[in-house]
Amino acid sequence: MMDAIPTPVIVISVGLAATLAFIGLNALVLVYLERKVAGFIQRRPGPYEVGPQGILQPVADALKLVGKQLFTPRGADGILYWLAPMISIAPTLVCFLVIPFGPHLQIINSNVGLILILAFTGVNVLALCIAGWSSQNKFALLGAARDISQSVAYEIPLLLSVLPIIFITGSFNLFDIASRQGAWPWQWYVTYQPVAFVIFFICALAETNRNPFDLPEAESELTAGFHTEYSGMGFGMFFLAEYAYMVIASCVTAILFLGGFQGPVASGWWWFLAKVYILLLIIIWIRWTYPRVRFDQLLNICWKWLIPLAVLNLLVTLLVIAL
C-alpha cells in the first residue's frame, strides 16, 4: 500500500500537517507573548485570569473567533471576499517547507529555497489587495492601497539586502547558506553584513505590516484597515497569516544572518528556535516602543535611506568579493 504512494508525496503531506500545527501553535504562543510583553512594558500583568498567569487566554480567544458568525457585508464581492483570507494563509505553508529548522529537519531541500520564500511571501500583498477591494468599505480600500505601495516600496531594499549574502555564498539554498556560517557569532553573516542585516530587518518589519510600519491596519485612522469587515475566522485567518509571516521573516533573518541552526555548543533545531524567538521578541518589543510612522515618512525612509544604503552596501560587497 505504502509503495504505491511516491515518497515525496508522503514527506510533503506529513510536512504540511506539521507546518499547520507549527503555525497554529506559534500563533497561540506569540499572541500570549505579545500581550504579556505589552503588559509588562506598560507595568500591567497582561492576560491573567484564564488559566495560571493567563496562559490559556489565546486558546479562549481562538475558540471565540472560531465560534463567531461569518458575516458578508452588503455590497461585498462574496467570492473574492472569502477567498482573500485563504490566499493570505496558503503561501505560508509553502514557505515553511523549505526552511531548514535543523541539520536533519527540513522538509524539502530546494536549490531555490530563498527565491521560493521571497516569491510566496509576495502573494500576501495580493490577498490584502483583494480583501480591501472586495469588502466594499472605504477603510478597507485605503488600507489595501497603503499596503500595496508599502510592500512594493519595501520589496526593493529587502531584495537588495539579500543579494550580498547570495553573492558571498553563491547559493539560493537556505540549507547551504545556514551551514556555510560557522558556529560562533563572529562567523555569522551579521558580522560581515551588518548594514544588510539592519536593512533586511527593517524591511521585514514593513513587509509583515508590523509596527512602526503597520499603516495598512492603522487602528487609529482606519479602524482595522483591510480586515475591517472580516468577522470570526475570516479575521482569524488574516491574524494567523500575519503571525506566520512574522515567524517566516524571523526564520529567514536567522538563516541569512545569524547562522541558522548553528550554535556555539550542540548545533541543532533548538538554536534555530531560540534565535527565531529572540527576533520575534525584538519585533514585539519594537511594536510596544515606537509610534506609527506617517505615510510620507514611511516612503522617505525607504526611497531616501534604505535603497541607496542597500545599493551602496551591495557595491562595496561586490568590490570586496572581486578583489
Binding site: 510583553v37 503588559g39 509588562f40 512594558i41 506598560q42 507595568r43 500591567r44 500583568p45 491573567y48 518589543w285 519594537i286 510596544w288 516602543t289 515606537y290 535611506w305
Partner: protein, 173 residues
C-alpha cells in the same frame, strides 16, 4: 546642510535606542496593577468619597456638628438634610424656628443643639466639597469608601449619624 541632515539622522537613530531602553526598563520594573478582588489598594488617604461626620474629640459617639445648617444652605444639589433638637435652656426666649442663628452664634449660657439626624442623599451629590469647606466646626470630612456599591437609588441615601455611631462602635471593639 548635508552634514546637518546626517547628524539629525544619527540623532534620530540614537533616540530609537533610547526609546528601546525606556521600554526595557519598564518591562523589568514591577507591575503597578492591584488585582482588585484579591488585593485592595493599601492607602486610601486623600480619596474623596461621600461626606461623613467627624466624631468630636471628647466623645467618639457624638458629632462635632452644631446644627448651624451652613452645609444645607451651601449644598448646590440640596442633598443634605439635618434635624436637631432645640436648645434646652432659654427655649422660651428663642423665637426663630430653625435654630440656625442660635447654632451659628451660640451664647455661653445656651446649651448646644443636639444633632438628631443627618441624612445625605448621595444620588444628588456632586462631590464639590463646599459643605466640608464651609463647616465652621470641621464636622464634615470625606469618607474613603472606594468600594461603594448598591442595587438601587435607595441604597445611596445615607444616615450619617447612624454611620458615625456604628463606626465608633466598631473601633471600640
Amino acid at each position: 546642510m548635508i552634514v546637518q541632515k546626517f547628524r539629525d539622522t544619527l540623532m534620530g537613530l540614537w533616540s530609537l535606542l533610547v526609546g528601546l531602553k525606556v521600554t526595557a526598563v519598564n518591562f523589568a520594573s514591577p507591575e503597578v496593577t492591584v488585582h482588585y478582588p484579591r488585593q485592595v489598594v493599601p492607602s486610601l488617604e486623600g480619596y474623596r468619597g461621600h461626606i461623613e461626620l467627624v466624631p468630636s474629640s471628647d466623645n467618639p459617639q457624638k458629632s462635632r456638628c452644631i446644627a448651624c445648617n451652613t452645609c444645607v444652605r451651601t449644598c448646590p444639589g440640596a442633598c443634605i438634610s439635618l434635624t436637631a433638637s432645640k436648645p434646652k435652656k432659654k427655649e422660651a426666649e428663642s423665637k426663630d424656628s430653625a435654630g440656625s442663628e442660635s447654632g451659628e452664634k451660640p451664647k455661653a449660657k445656651k446649651e448646644k443643639p443636639e444633632l438628631e439626624s443627618f441624612v445625605l442623599d448621595f444620588n444628588y451629590c456632586c462631590l464639590c466639597g463646599l459643605c466640608v469647606q464651609n463647616c465652621p466646626t470641621d464636622a464634615l470630612g470625606f469618607s474613603n469608601d472606594v468600594y461603594l456599591a448598591g442595587t438601587g437609588r435607595q441604597d445611596f441615601v445615607f444616615d450619617l449619624l447612624a454611620r458615625l455611631q456604628s463606626q465608633s462602635a466598631k473601633t471600640e471593639q
